[in-house]
Symmetry: C2
Subunit: 412 residues, 2 copies
Amino acid sequence: MAARRIDGRRLWDSLMALASIGATAKGGVCRLALTELDRQARDLVVRWASEAGMTVTIDKIGNVFMRRRGRNDSLPAVMTGSHIDTQPTGGKFDGNYGVLAGIEVVRTLNDLGIETEAPIEVAFWTNEEGSRFVPVMMGSGVFARAFTLAHAYAAADVEGKTVQGELERIGYIGTEEPGAHPVGAYFETHIEQGPVLEDHGKTIGVVTGVLGIRWYDCTVVGMEAHAGPTPMALRKDALQVATRLMQEVVSCARRHGPHGRGTVGMVQVHPNSRNVIPGRVKFSIDLRNASDALCEAMDADIRGTAARLAAESGLAIEIVPVSAYPAQPFHPDCIAAVAAAATALGYSQMPVVSGAGHDAVYLARLAPAGMIFIPCKDGISHNEIEDAQPDHVTAGCNVLMHAMLEMAGVVS
Amino acid sequence: MAARRIDGRRLWDSLMALASIGATAKGGVCRLALTELDRQARDLVVRWASEAGMTVTIDKIGNVFMRRRGRNDSLPAVMTGSHIDTQPTGGKFDGNYGVLAGIEVVRTLNDLGIETEAPIEVAFWTNEEGSRFVPVMMGSGVFARAFTLAHAYAAADVEGKTVQGELERIGYIGTEEPGAHPVGAYFETHIEQGPVLEDHGKTIGVVTGVLGIRWYDCTVVGMEAHAGPTPMALRKDALQVATRLMQEVVSCARRHGPHGRGTVGMVQVHPNSRNVIPGRVKFSIDLRNASDALCEAMDADIRGTAARLAAESGLAIEIVPVSAYPAQPFHPDCIAAVAAAATALGYSQMPVVSGAGHDAVYLARLAPAGMIFIPCKDGISHNEIEDAQPDHVTAGCNVLMHAMLEMAGVVS
């Protein structure tokens, strides 16, 4: 069993060929969802799938399913996939790796003459990045009925072009009802987009789940006054109160470890003048953790600290929720299959969580799901310098193949 | 002696008449330096001075000196003054009060038939506000040789119009060499522009000096990374380090009380995105205190904390001085004259410092100087809603008259 290996060179060559569509001067890829470049990339992947003997169906939101028959073809498919749209200054691996790893698995099964009990499918989901159209993870979101097809169709880019219109224009508006496609299990291979595997020197991240996310806008209102004539005791300095709450965002995440995350990414100071005590400070809060209960506990901590700071300072502090995603643990069977595959193949591994969203989050609502992470250089992603080592790319794909075979069953 | 009182109604009427030149809809004044409106205001004040029997000289930077003879007219004048230019959204009292209080003193001396030993002069200094041309306190700065006439002449507004050209255009470029004018003592009456007198319920602030100012730009450089996939322990969050230093700016000012002031007024976060850990934060630091030694001690504290935070976090912290003004204590004789006048007149009083710069700061380099503060509503200045009570306006002017008579000597 462990002797079955994918062709790492073929996979790498496919990645580089796909990355040439929308290639940027700095070595990245700019291929926004539903553009002409996206169409070219879709056509290439579909051609590869056809060449590998797969059949192709497209649903109404443009998700593409490429299928290799199983011996018992009425079983729900063991599916893998990801996305091939990129950020405006994206890299070669984000999303594309997960799709082409699936294609490579099928090519290898063909080469080795392996038949599976359940069918194998490789999917690419429309507009995962959300750079051109919101919401993000659009195709998998419609598929999982997180929001309606009509909502997605109506989404428009800055020029007013809609998702529906652009799907029609590039010829990827299918006939299948989104979500009608049965899924037996779902795996997604992805670069980590963080620094943990590299920091620990591990090849495979066995992803146990995706962090829940809470976004807020916080506003502290004090009183503008001249920096010179106003003694410290008579100030209502909005920034000084805001910075204490910003500190708490980080402290709170550390207290609720190991997966707690707290970030203030955006700050706006009014009037933002060198010699004026700030009268109003608005800032974003991003809280994440591995369970909804932990997210809730962090929410309570932040609100408690804000209430205490407001009482102490006499300044008004308002915290407004902006959006929230529940934590999504992956299925024990899928987690176990990934871990067992890595062990059988002799790769170093560790359990990790995903701090970012992926299509697998929505698929996990429909079927047992799991993810496989490989390291990316310096943890950098959503950047043209995003990079991954060929050995790691190969290893992740081998793990994917073994985990899928475990779930699909090999006809002996 | 204490029975000599100015005419508060006449002073108030003059203030309101001057405020009508450049009056704004919200009750303030917009009369930028060396504009047509400034010329109209200058002409009005000069006319009032002439009507009060004063002689007028103008120096090359447009400072105007209005003189009432003394019995011994060769003595250096006991001078008072301020400015009549305003902020774009300025109030009726800032500067204007100090000039018109001087005019009212002369009118009162005329009414009461009082002759002084030394001559009395009332000055208004060009471009104190610095809203249209930098540097601020331009006229008094050239007069005190803080910078050259050529430097001031070359200053241009956003349209490229220079101070020299605008002085010529409005007819206020004089022939006297700036600084050639002898000054025996200088007083300046001003609204406090802060909340201290109002907070203490006092009518007269006996100003003991002007705080020294240190301005810096501070930059903290970390590493941008995604808020989701990056665990707390692997972050280089520039904002979290910056906010600790921002806290220290305030703590440091409190430690170096009672006159220590520390303000972060301006903050710029990069890339300023909700789900990206800030990679770079730039912010301003404004430190003030009553002596240069205390300013120096605060500087050392901030730099020490920055060095400690840099060592602890591994992030680079750069602190660049932007500008500095030395602390300027006022002359004991002038401070005593103001305090004695307030006592003799029966006004409540307290010693205060000025946290903002005034023309008196430069004059104090040339002659014994002092200032008289009166409360302003809610400590608000540089704002169209700037306000002062008629009783306080009258009180400050009475104190000015008695202090000037003390220094000039009354011919009995």
